[in-house]
């Protein structure tokens, strides 16, 4: 692949890969169980900040700081967000949103010598040099996460998550512990978020609270998952690539603020047209083509 495209396009694909990882992480929890998380930047941020602080301020090599960051993300998310899983529906969304805002405020106030305060941290050690190597790493990560999740979702665990999204009470009625299931889903989601966040921090080389704990970032993640198709593996990846490439293709045509306007508008229309996402649109197109061939309706 890298041989056939321009380096600039590779960079765009790297961004898309990372967004796809974040969107898949969101989807494990929210797309399947219906517990909408507005606090995913909170998890990604913990992963990114942990590895950045460990490697930059304490000189821990990335091969240790990244796994540590993932563990911290899972642990931190568990301690902080798990109580929220008691809460249903829109309230869950709100409490996770509150956590994101809280984190944004705290990162700046508490130990700014470590977190870099509002300016964030720059000069985080890069794992790769050049677009090709960065691309290979990002694609490997994305496909690895996708494969792992795909295998996991084929198990009874995956089916049970779906069932929670459909009707939590009947799952509980059938004797399964929904709390255990939700906790598992949450841990998997946090693992992927921590992994993505940590590698992303090493990729961009810099991070700032305004870029991470931000409603725009949250917006991009959720929209990628939903535009692509929530509750699937391919959907969030598809959505991420679609959105990132849409933004980059618009750049030379609409360099200024119009770009975000068009981008948001396209997302809104697509989502309103088919809340199940591009995957569902593609499926219905395929069905229609097949349907015409067999011509059942006539």
């Amino acid at each position: 692949m890298p041989e056939f495209v321009e380096r600039g396009t590779l960079r765009t694909m790297i961004q898309a890969c990372y967004l796809a990882i974040f969107a898949m992480s969101w989807d494990v929890l929210s797309g399947r169980t219906g517990y909408i998380s507005f606090g995913h930047p909170f998890l990604i941020g913990i992963g990114a900040y942990s590895t950045a602080i460990l490697s930059k301020k304490f000189g821990v090599p990335p091969e240790y700081s990244i796994p540590l960051a993932i563990v911290i993300t899972m642990f931190g998310g568990l301690v902080v967000l798990l109580p929220a899983l008691r809460i249903k529906g829109s309230y869950f969304a709100l409490v996770t949103l509150a956590f994101m805002e809280l984190m944004y405020q705290l990162v700046q106030v508490i130990r700014p010598d470590l977190t870099g305060g509002t300016r964030g941290i720059t000069g985080i050690k890069s794992l790769t040099r050049g677009a090709e190597a960065g691309y290979e790493l990002a694609v490997t990560l994305m496909l690895g996460v996708a494969l792992g999740l795909w295998l996991l979702m084929r198990t009874r665990f995956g089916t049970a998550l779906w069932a929670i999204g459909m009707d939590e009470d009947s799952v509980r009625g059938s004797g399964l512990s929904t709390t255990r299931l939700k906790t598992m889903a949450f841990l998997v989601s946090a693992l992927v978020a921590g992994l993505g966040g940590a590698y992303y921090a090493h990729y961009t080389g810099s991070l700032a609270p305004r870029a991470l704990f931000d409603i725009d970032f949250l917006f991009t993640i959720i929209v990628a998952a939903l535009i692509g198709g929530a509750g699937t593996i391919i959907g969030p990846m598809f959505g991420a690539f679609f959105l990132i490439f849409l933004l980059e293709w618009l750049r030379p045509i609409l360099p200024g603020a119009e770009r975000y306007f068009v981008y948001g508008g396209v997302a809104l229309i697509l989502y309103m047209y088919q809340p199940k996402g591009l995957v569902a649109i593609a499926q219905s197109l395929r069905d229609r083509v097949r349907g015409d061939n067999y011509d059942h309706r006539a």
Partner: protein, 426 residues
């Protein structure tokens, strides 16, 4: 219909610009919808037009590609990648704000594309140049760094606030940002020993603060003679509430929103009495003929805001020409070490009435500035001691009067008006 025609015209203009024989490509990185970003963009565009009219650089025409950051850190990283790898520019001119510059810095280090920052003044970046001059060779900052700004401000404290106004103590009102912390630290360390003004209290506030009434009450209770504000984010809120509440104390300091001529219009006049330090050339700053010529061209070419370019517009205009001159001497931009050496040699002295007025030059490696006792390699040259014979002062203090005029109040050599208390404080 009109919109569609406009779009097509814009599209084809864009296509023409890229397909024309443009051999030297300049990339602009910054916000395309802020006064800050537009100042740099237009300053650079005017310089490019003038270079092209004069036959181009090294016999080649110069063209510009823009990349919008929306003042967002991640968008800034993507914008830099776009300029470097999709547009493949030779040189980048930046109107980024501090954290956006810090965001794309690792990319600049990786791509090694000559880059000139015209707005970011963070001393931490100059420290990076000192630490690793090789990796930072492509980077130049042609605005005096914030440490230099704050240092000269102390003299304003001694010569105006203490000597003329008789202020003995200050309460510092600083926003909770890295910028706020840095300036607060510099000012608190030096005000008492150098200017003889005691710091009664330091109040740090959250940048999302809605209502400043309790904070101003706290400041008044400190018993200080005046307020020193440090605000770069949402700075219009604190200053307009100061005016609306008619807080009975003088307030001066750093207020980034008051740096452009649009301040008066944006605040609807609710900003009289506010004074702030400003990089040079500020609003209300008397201009030398060359810089005035730039402003005239600017105003004949653009009729939307900012009506007068901010300081970084001047930096971009002069800086871009210097970068091109350096490239001409170094045989292009590709040999970064050679370009860096030539860029360091650039030195433009602008005179007004036979006196040095503005100087666009750079501090060399190892060259120690006397007042602060440190080096500022690849940073804009500035002067911290009157009578400013080596370069212009690192900053001036400007004040907005209640009738909507604005003028420089310090240093006296550059002053066009006097520092006054707002009418409700007198």
């Amino acid at each position: 219909m009109k919109l569609r025609l406009g779009l097509i015209a814009g599209l084809s203009a864009g296509l023409l610009a890229t397909t024309a024989l443009a051999d030297i490509k300049v990339g602009f990185i910054g916000s395309l919808s802020s006064d800050t970003g537009l100042s740099t963009l237009r300053g650079a565009q005017i310089a490019i037009d003038e270079l092209n009219d004069a036959g181009g650089v090294m016999g080649q025409q110069v063209s510009m590609v823009t990349a919008d950051t929306g003042e967002d850190v991640i968008e800034g990283v993507k914008a830099f990648e776009y300029l470097a790898e999709s547009a493949e520019v030779d040189f980048i001119i930046s109107g980024s704000i501090d954290d956006v510059s810090l965001g794309w810095m690792p990319r600049m280090q990786e791509y090694q594309i000559p880059t000139l920052d015209t707005w970011t003044s963070y001393i931490g970046i100059i420290d990076m140049v000192i630490e690793d001059p090789e990796v930072m060779a492509p980077y130049f900052m042609n605005i005096a760094s914030d440490e230099a700004l704050a240092t000269l401000y102390i003299n304003f404290g001694a010569e105006v606030l203490k000597a003329k106004m008789g202020f003995e103590s200050v309460v510092i009102l600083a926003e909770d940002t890295a910028f706020g912390q840095a300036i607060t630290g510099l000012v608190t360390d030096a005000l008492a020993p150098v200017a003889g003004i005691d710091v009664a209290d330091v109040i740090v506030y959250d940048i999302g603060t809605v209502d400043f009434a309790p904070i101003f009450s706290k400041a008044q209770n400190s018993g200080a003679d005046f307020i020193y504000q440090v605000s770069s984010v949402n700075s219009q809120v604190i200053s307009s509430q100061y005016v609306k509440l008619q807080v009975p104390m003088a307030m001066t300091g750093v207020n980034v929103s008051a740096l452009g001529m649009e301040y008066w219009e944006d605040t609807g006049g609710a900003g009289g009495g506010i004074s702030t330090l400003s990089p040079v050339p500020s609003v209300g700053f008397p201009l030398d003929p060359v810089s005035q010529g730039f402003v005239d061209t600017y105003q004949s070419k653009y009729d939307t805001r900012p009506m007068i370019p901010h300081f970084n517009g001047f930096n971009a205009y002069h800086g871009l020409k210097q970068a091109m001159a350096a490239a001409e001497a170094a045989g292009g931009f590709s040999d970064v070490a050679a370009w860096n050496a030539e860029m360091l040699k650039q030195d433009l002295i602008l005179e007004k009435d036979g006196q040095l007025w503005l100087r666009y030059g750079f501090w060399q490696h190892g060259e120690v500035e006397e007042v602060t006792g440190r080096t500022y390699p690849q940073n804009a040259r500035f002067d911290l001691t009157s009578p400013y014979e080596d370069a212009q002062p690192s900053m001036v203090v400007i004040q907005w009067k209640e009738d909507g005029t604005v003028g420089v109040v310090y240093p006296f050599e550059y002053a066009s008006t006097e520092f006054e208390l707002p009418s409700w404080v007198k």
